[in-house]
Amino acid sequence: MSTQLLTVSGISKSFPGVKALQDVQFELNRGEVLALVGENGAGKSSLMKILSGIYSKDSGTILFEGQEVDIDSPKTAQKLGISIIHQEMNLMPHLTVAQNIFIGREPRVGIFVRERLLSRQASELLTRLGIDLDPDTLVEGLTVAKQQMVEIAKALSFDAKVLIMDEPTSALTVAETETLFTLIEALKATGTGIIYISHRMDELRRITDRVTVLRDGHYIGTLEKADFSIPKVIEMMVGRPIEEGARPTTRVREADDIVLKVEGLNTRSLLKDVSFELRRGEILGFSGLMGAGRTEVARAIIGADPRTSGTVEINGKAVSIKKPSDAVALGLGYLSEDRKQFGLLLEQDVNTNILLASLKDYTDGLGFVHTNKGKQTSRRYVDSLRIKTPSISSTTKNLSGGNQQKVVIAKWLARDCDILIFDEPTRGIDVGAKEEIYRLLNDLAAEGKSIIMISSELPEVLKLAHRIIVMANGRITGVLDNEEASQAKIMDFATRMGHEKEAVQL
Amino acid sequence: ASGSNTAAPAAGNSKELYIALISKGFQHQFWQAVKKGAEQRAAKLGVKVTFEGPASETEVDAQLQMLQAAIDKKPDAIGFAALDPKACIPLLDAAKAAKIPVVEFDAGCDSTVPLSIAKTDSKAAGALAADNMARLIGGKGEVGIVGHSQINSTGVERRDGFVNQIKAKYPDIKIVDIQYGDGDHLKSADIAKAMIAAHPNLKGLYGTNEGSAIGIVNAVGELGLAKGKVTVVGFDSGQAQMDAITSGVMAGAITQNPIGIGEQTVQAAYDAIKGKTPEKIIDTGFFWYDAKNMTEANIAAVLYK
């Protein structure tokens, strides 16, 4: 039994009104990658938080290397050699990369921190991991993706026996994901056991040895690599088969009206001369590597960030958008990629969040809000999007990540904008829900709404977008029609750093 | 206001007479001395007194609340020193309605209810400070004032008494600056230093209460000025001022007779309870003291530490 690293059995955990885990079990061997999958809210993160000492379990046993252990604090978990990359960012934005990685373990002489050694250690670690980051930059200036890389570096710096990764790739693009997989292979070879949580099914086959499936807080089963297939896993997860959608069947015709026209958009920090058009009923994909500037395009258009120049036309009329409320008033909504920071009122209930963008529709001339009508709307979206929440008056913070994302989507659906910019709409969302969101986007487009979909997942862009704009380094490097697009072509454009600009005139 | 006069006497006053004193403050040594006088006389008369006042002499509202609470306690008499002469009127009417006799000390309320007041003429005291300042600097030169308040009555009257006297009687003396340090020793010291810096020919500085005066003394000490370069005239008493006068840093100061105020107030209240009519105005006097007369019995009696 020396290969057994971790044996978990009979774990239950309840939160007020929610049974997050009931009698869950799994085991982890040395040198393997165990995938943990399940729909949003299935209890994956909760289980991992128990293993890393953040939550205490209500019942059950944890054997670590054959010994029963009581993991009562993050520190205990660290001491045992259990290291975790959290689903939600857990960095200190005002500290540097190096300071973040070694927080709590600073090399010191007496009370003094050996700053230079700290920086060197971090630099060595980052080089060893092949992560391109300056250890002395402040984390607050990094993009979500880079912050995620910092988290990964931090978790790997522990030389842990058990490494838990809770959706590590949800903010990463292909290249970073690839780096991570290489790291995982290397760690496996040294005998580390890895628990890997992801909603990206294609990743499972690539790196995992076994898959454990949870549904609604229950243990469903474990599949060995040999009898593992994606449809089978999905079926176990959702309890019913899901058919993979094909590429879009409808076409956007040249004759359709141009609803949004952006011309010569520039920002001080990144964007250079971004121009494009969006037609009625179109889903326009935005592809690119991390930091390519897609989010910045969206933010600049809606007036969330300053732009140095550029014009925006809506339905053929030049408009002046100085702040997000202007954009929304013109029927242009933006769903941010970072739901925790920019999407949700975490401390407020689901109802408040869903109605936030459309509150004026429920307000009379005196400023009074008609609560019941609003609640009906909220309930409708909770049902139709299958948001897993005890009620619409539950605090949003307590929802699982994926369900939080659905709340943000519901907010924008309730606002009924004609143009919607979805920035990474399926980040952290389970397969079942993803399909629902895809269908939803298609329906919206079919109704005549126009959609910009920024996504780092190439399959999803290919599946949904009528046209695909590829960005690199703040520029548009290519525009592809769906029929001519392929992953290889997109990647080709996504990696043109501007020197080859002439070559990509389309 | 007192709707329920169902004569339930407040606990503890069935035998012992109880007089509630509402002062303008309690933290300054001046008020502590008033308190001391009141307690001395109360002990002698065998009555109970309580003494309270707001933390700062700007808190008119808080003082009214104290007065209201005092009335609700149904004492046998109330002694009151008004922070504002008008705001107190309705509450004194309420006291009258509750048949509680009221006497005043230090500063009065524009009301017919109070039977007497024990106080000092602060303007005259300020004028006496001016006379002494003029005498000490030889009747001419620049003088500055560090005040403790530009709004409460003692602050204003001690300042105005000084200023008016100088204007009226000493045309060669120029008051070059008046600033206010809230009676905060540190602030007053910094103000005095700034004044001395800004007016190199400054002959004298007048501080209108203990904190202001000691601030000036500290400033002179910190600047290491030769004794007598700037003539310091203070107000009130206290250990530090007496020391400064002994050592010669301060030329002298005006003291009122706060212990006497406290004694007279309790006495008047006691008389009122007993049905005697106390004297309408009890002037407890004020005195100039300096190194020469400080130890004299009549002066030593009104000084307090």
Partner: protein
């Protein structure tokens, strides 16, 4: 979106039972601090009633209510500001400036009563507006923006009044605003307090301003990106709160029958303490009017009780500080989510 396209056979994940348990527990959690504050209030009332018979008399109770009025009105307004995650340190001296301006309007300029009163209230609103502008548009931190406003208001009150109280003797009706008794035995100031509390309650829980107040305090950036003009609404919140400061200025002037230009500093901390004791979080996003009312009452009952018991003034602060700690500790019980 066309809801019918979504699989409506999707199993309901939540059964009615859990829903109920959950919302009951949520409700309880939310009410806990309020109830504990309320419990503190009741304990104080009982304690003082037994400690001194003079305490539980109508005259004293109405005195307590009257002395709650000013701090209470300030606290009501500043509850909104605190829920947005901001703070307003200028309410104390701002109240004084409003009182002084009322005096200027009514006494020096001899304007009609209603005009003078509205002018005083508007003064408060204007200060709130300026603070709101500094905070929302110039992006100054609320603490420092309102600290500066506190100093400015304090200075202006002295300058404008000529460093001297303004007496309303020429306007005999003015006194009735606070001290008249539309309900016999109860000063109008108390009615004003409760009336304003009701209005504040309505605004906070029923109107769009209230909703956005909570939203701003929960996540301002998310609110902004949701198309809410956060700058405008933030200015509105500070202005609205400023109106309460103005009303407090009129009430205190009426109560004192004079505008005392040096009054006011220190009131802001008392009002903020009342708000926090009432369970409103300084981190924003959470709070209630009822809680604030209870918090203000705790403060004034406590201070009155100590006075009635003739506790020495120097000890009173110690006791008040200790009671604040205890009252607020209950709140922490709820938030304390240790490992268990």
């Amino acid at each position: 979106m066309n809801a019918s396209t979504v699989d409506t056979r999707a199993p309901k994940i939540v059964d009615p039972e859990t829903k109920k348990t959950r919302s009951v527990s949520n409700f309880l959690q939310a009410k806990l601090q309020q109830s504990l504050a309320f419990a503190t209030l009741v304990v104080l009332l009982i304690f003082f009633s037994f400690a001194n018979t003079a305490f539980f008399t109508w005259s004293n109770i109405s005195g307590i209510l009257l002395s709650t009025a000013v701090i209470g009105i300030l606290a009501l307004g500043t509850t909104f500001v605190i829920i947005t995650g901001g703070i307003d340190l200028s309410i104390g001296t701002g109240m004084t400036l409003a009182a002084v301006m009322t005096g200027i309007f009514l006494v020096n300029m001899d304007l009609p009563l209603i005009v003078g009163v509205l002018g005083g209230i508007a003064t408060g609103g204007l200060m709130g507006f300026i603070s709101g502008f500094n905070i929302a548009v110039l992006k100054l931190p609320p603490f420092i923006a309102t600290l500066a406003m506190m100093l400015i208001a304090q200075g202006l009150a002295l300058v404008i009044s000529g460093v001297r109280p303004i007496y309303f003797t020429s306007v005999p009706d003015f006194k009735q605003i606070a001290l008249g008794t539309a309900i016999p035995g109860l000063p109008n100031a108390v009615l004003i307090l409760f009336g304003l509390a009701f209005i504040a309650y309505l605004v906070l829980s029923k109107t769009i301003l209230g909703r956005y107040t909570f939203a701003l305090g929960s996540n301002e950036e998310a609110t902004r990106l949701s198309g809410v003009d956060t700058r405008r609404w933030k200015i509105m919140v500070y202005t609205f709160s400023g109106l309460f400061t103005g009303i407090a200025g009129v009430v205190i002037a009426s109560r004192l029958d004079s505008a005392q230009p040096q009054l006011g500093s220190g009131y802001e901390l008392q009002a903020i303490a009342a708000v926090i004791i009432g369970g409103t979080s300084l981190l924003g996003g959470r709070g209630s009017i009822l809680g604030t009312l209870i918090g203000a009452l705790i403060m004034s009952v406590l201070i009155n009780g100590l006075r009635i018991m003739s506790i020495q003034t120097e000890w009173q602060n110690v006791v008040v500080g200790a009671v604040i700690l205890v009252a607020v500790f209950s709140d922490s019980l709820r938030r304390r989510k240790a490992i268990f």
